[in-house]
């Protein structure tokens, strides 16, 4: 179905090849998972198979890509689109209309199909992805998982033979992620398509026993089975290059490195109660004290009576489905959102009485999207921006900035523009730029989105170091394994309320009792299942 021979590609003036001599043969109905570190060329490969790479991007190409007998470099995208459907990372970015029906019908209307046939295909596509109940809804009102289902249905409706998913779950919570993978499996079984999934969360896909293709630096470094019984790192290690071995090692310690840090966090965590949304008072003043917090947007209530106390030196993970109030909670802590009711105290300051501009001297906040928080013209200026704004850029701070940049692999990129960095590098710069002025409290909103294991481990190591030095970390994330290994305490949000607040191990037991299996770390889920059985 797909034949790639000696494909190399370099974007515009970039000195680096995004793809280097890639050779792949993918048969009809095959299920292939493509993985690798951020910036390794996975998405570029997807764009090449769909033909977009050669039509919409300037660059230097060598090699051939043939799909269903068509040389994609010599065929209009419209013709390739009859065979290949591409579901992109963020459904929001690929929607062309405002409602579910309009979106699914969009491609069919463009093909000038008669309305009756459009209705028929639309019903089929929505049924295959389990989204028939969404007919009549505006896209803006859907949850992340529902949006992704509609995006898949919109591509499926054209009945392609090849379906490519480019990190379809990177913005989704574990519940929605499990649902999307179930949908992908169902599509494959039902429609017999060739399915390519670009994904970091390969372990979750193991149950489908796919073929695994690992890329690194634009090269294929592993191409073989991902059998149900072995870990990815084990199967990949057999034939990968040295660089892939390093990634694999990083992937392994992604979930284990913090065991050495964890004991430091547990004394604080042990103060948390097992069943309520309050902790007992720690002996030192808490970093955060929230009491009966109510916050809403546009008359829509988001948080309903949230109470929480976080002691200094804690590493708290905030988890829960998308839209349950985690981000709203973080934004409230810095005064970005005014509470309708309730009281917030941050580092001993009553938020009614202190301005955000004063508080940010002691608080670092990393937002979700790295591009939304890069403001300076150079990496060094970016790293030291906050310190300069606070007039604290002395010799010691500069030395700290140099040290942090060097440790994050950005030491020799100080003169580069931040937008020239790779995604993972930007994320590391985001964190460095809030650590330079040494904040006592660090708030992080899903900083692991789109991160490979190596980058994630690097970021988490920096955070653990901050905690060891007495700092406090509150991190929204969707990775149970990360929470299990790195956080001392887990606070779980549901429908604007905290339903679990306990030390991580205890919290996972409570989540298991609540039936929230998607939120359990792999080893924990297995252990609980064994224990129950």
């Amino acid at each position: 179905m797909i034949s790639i021979q000696g494909l190399s590609f370099r974007f515009g003036a970039s000195p680096r090849y995004a793809l280097r001599n890639v050779n792949l043969e993918i048969a009809a109905s095959e299920f292939v998972v493509i993985t690798g570190p951020s910036g390794c060329g996975k998405s570029t490969l997807a764009l090449a198979i769909g033909g977009y790479l050669f039509r919409q991007y300037d660059g230097e190409t060598a090699g051939t890509v043939t799909v269903a007998g068509m040389d994609v470099r010599g065929v209009p995208i419209y013709d390739i689109a009859e065979v290949v459907g591409l579901v992109q990372q963020n459904p929001e970015d690929q929607f062309c209309t405002l409602t579910v029906q309009d979106e699914v019908a969009f491609g069919l209307e463009n093909r000038c199909l008669p309305p009756d046939e459009i209705r028929q295909r639309m019903a089929w596509a929505l049924e295959v992805v389990g989204a028939s109940h969404l007919v009549g809804r505006a896209l803006a009102t859907l949850s992340g998982g529902e949006k992704q289902k509609v995006a898949i249905a919109a591509v499926m409706a054209a009945r392609p033979q090849v379906l490519i998913f480019d990190e379809p779950t990177s913005n989704l919570d574990p519940t929605a992620t499990a649902e999307i993978f179930r949908v992908i499996s169902h599509i494959r079984a039902r429609a017999g398509l060739t399915v390519l999934v670009i994904e970091h969360k390969v372990e979750v896909l193991r149950q489908f026993a796919p073929r695994l293709v690992a890329l690194d630096g634009g090269r294929v470094v592993y191409d073989g089975p991902m059998s149900a019984g072995e870990r990815v790192s084990e199967s990949a290690n057999r034939q990968v290059s040295e660089s892939a071995n390093q990634d694999s090692e990083q992937a392994t310690h992604y979930g284990t490195r913090l065991t050495e840090h964890a004991p430091r966090n547990t004394p604080h965590a042990s103060r948390a109660t097992n069943h309520g949304s309050r902790t007992t008072h720690p002996p030192t003043p808490p970093a955060v004290r929230v009491d009966d917090l109510h916050v809403g947007y546009d008359d829509v209530p988001i948080l309903h009576g949230v109470s929480l106390e976080v002691g200094e030196g804690e590493f708290v993970a905030l988890m829960g489905d998308n839209g349950t109030g985690k981000t709203t909670f973080l934004h409230s802590l810095l005064g970005f959102l005014k509470p309708g009711r309730g009281r917030i105290e941050v580092l001993g300051h009553d938020m009614h009485r202190v301005s955000t501009s004063r508080l940010v001297r002691q608080v670092g906040f990393v937002f979700q999207n790295p591009d939304h928080q890069l403001f300076a013209d150079g990496v060094w200026q970016e790293a030291t921006l906050a310190a300069r704004n606070f007039d604290t850029l002395d010799e010691a701070t500069q030395a700290r900035a140099r040290d942090l940049l060097a440790r994050c692999g950005l030491g020799d990129r100080q003169q580069d523009h931040p937008y020239r960095l790779s995604y993972g590098e930007k994320r590391r710069l985001n964190l460095v730029s809030v650590l330079v002025h040494d904040p006592r409290l660090i708030l992080l909103d899903e900083i692991l989105i789109g991160q490979d294991a190596g980058n994630a481990a690097m970021l988490l190591d920096l955070l653990c170091e901050q905690v060891r030095q007495g700092g406090t970390v509150i991190m929204v994330n969707h990775h149970p394994d990360v929470t299990s290994r790195y956080a001392s305490r887990l606070v779980f949000f549901n429908d604007g309320k905290i339903i679990v607040d306990a030390p991580t191990a205890d919290a996972f037991r409570q989540l298991a009792h609540l039936g929230l299996q998607a939120y359990l770390p792999n080893d924990h889920a297995t252990r609980i299942t064994n224990h129950v059985s």
Binding site: L47, G50, R55, Q56, I77, Y78, A81, G85, L86, Q88, N90, D93, Q94, F95, C96, T97, L98, T99, D102, F106, G107, L108, E109, N110, R111, C112, L113, P114, P115, I118, M122, A154, V155, G296, Y297, D298, D299, L334, F336, T356, S357, V360, R361, G364, F365, F367, N369, D371, H372, Q373, L374, F375, A376, L385, A386, N389, F390, Y419, S433, V434
Partner: protein, 255 residues
């Protein structure tokens, strides 16, 4: 926080009116208050618009910005009252003179301003923008332009939200906007808009892939699944509109 000025779903007569007929009436109302130089006509139009709000069950009082517009209208009216001296004096207090002509001009300007704003509000609150775009395309607007409108409608709230995030991210890094230096202000502006520009370019890339991958632009025309129905009521509204425009033209010619 009050809701933004955006479409509020409903089932009133105005909600059900064809978007093009409704748009035509809105434009006619605006034209009328500018073309006819009579405060009474303007007040009559304003009265009709004010009645239309409760009839369409549109929550004017709950929408963001209404207080600002009301204050602006009062201010505009007050300026006319204070500075237009025409006709007999009604009040004399030292240098302050209020004339009948000034009061008339004040009412006229304030009511005209409110008419234009409230007519737009009424249209936005009762018209599904999607119906408007599809209505225009079914009426002959080339579909490329129609989807440009839909894309804009979809992306405006996204960019509004992103702008808010960028602003908050800057605040969190100690960026302060209370500067008087033009150079510094330009730098701040660049730092604010650059992330939005980068984000917009990324979205354009994704959207282009999505649209091309679904054959947008493959043919000069396309089919439409969505029906924007034109009922007898819409035809009647359009006919009345034509009559109204003709009457206005006749009055203007005679005058």
């Amino acid at each position: 926080m009050k809701p933004r000025i955006t479409y509020q779903p409903g089932d009133s007569l105005l909600h059900r009116l064809h978007p093009l007929a409704k748009g035509g009436w809105m434009l006619f109302g605006t034209l009328l208050v500018f073309a006819v130089h009579s405060p009474w006509v303007v007040l009559a139009v304003l009265g009709l618009v004010m009645v239309a709000f409760p009839l369409s069950r549109s929550p004017l009082g709950r929408v963001r910005g209404t207080r600002l517009f009301a204050t602006t209208a009062l201010l505009l009216g007050a300026l006319q009252v204070l500075f237009v001296h025409r006709g007999p004096a009604l009040v004399r207090m030292g240098p302050l003179v209020v004339t009948a002509g000034g009061v008339e001009a004040g009412i006229y300007v304030a009511a005209r301003f409110l008419c234009v704003v409230l007519l737009s509000y009424l249209f936005v609150l009762t018209t599904d923008p999607n119906d408007l775009a599809y209505g225009l395309m079914r009426a002959g607007l080339p579909y490329r332009y129609g989807f440009a409108l839909i894309t804009a409608l979809r992306l405006v709230p996204v960019f509004e939200q992103e702008g808010q995030i960028v602003y908050r991210a800057q605040l969190a890094r100690g960026v302060r906007y209370d500067t008087r230096s033009p150079h510094r202000f330009l730098t701040l502006g660049r730092q604010f808009f650059l992330p939005l520009l980068v984000s917009a370019l990324g979205k354009v890339d994704s959207l282009a892939v999505s649209m091309e991958g679904r054959c947008f632009g493959k043919y000069p025309t396309r089919t439409f699944l969505r029906e924007v129905h034109c009922t007898n009521r819409d035809v009647a509204a359009a006919a009345l509109l034509v009559l109204g425009v003709a009457a206005l033209a006749a009055v203007l010619i005679v005058i």
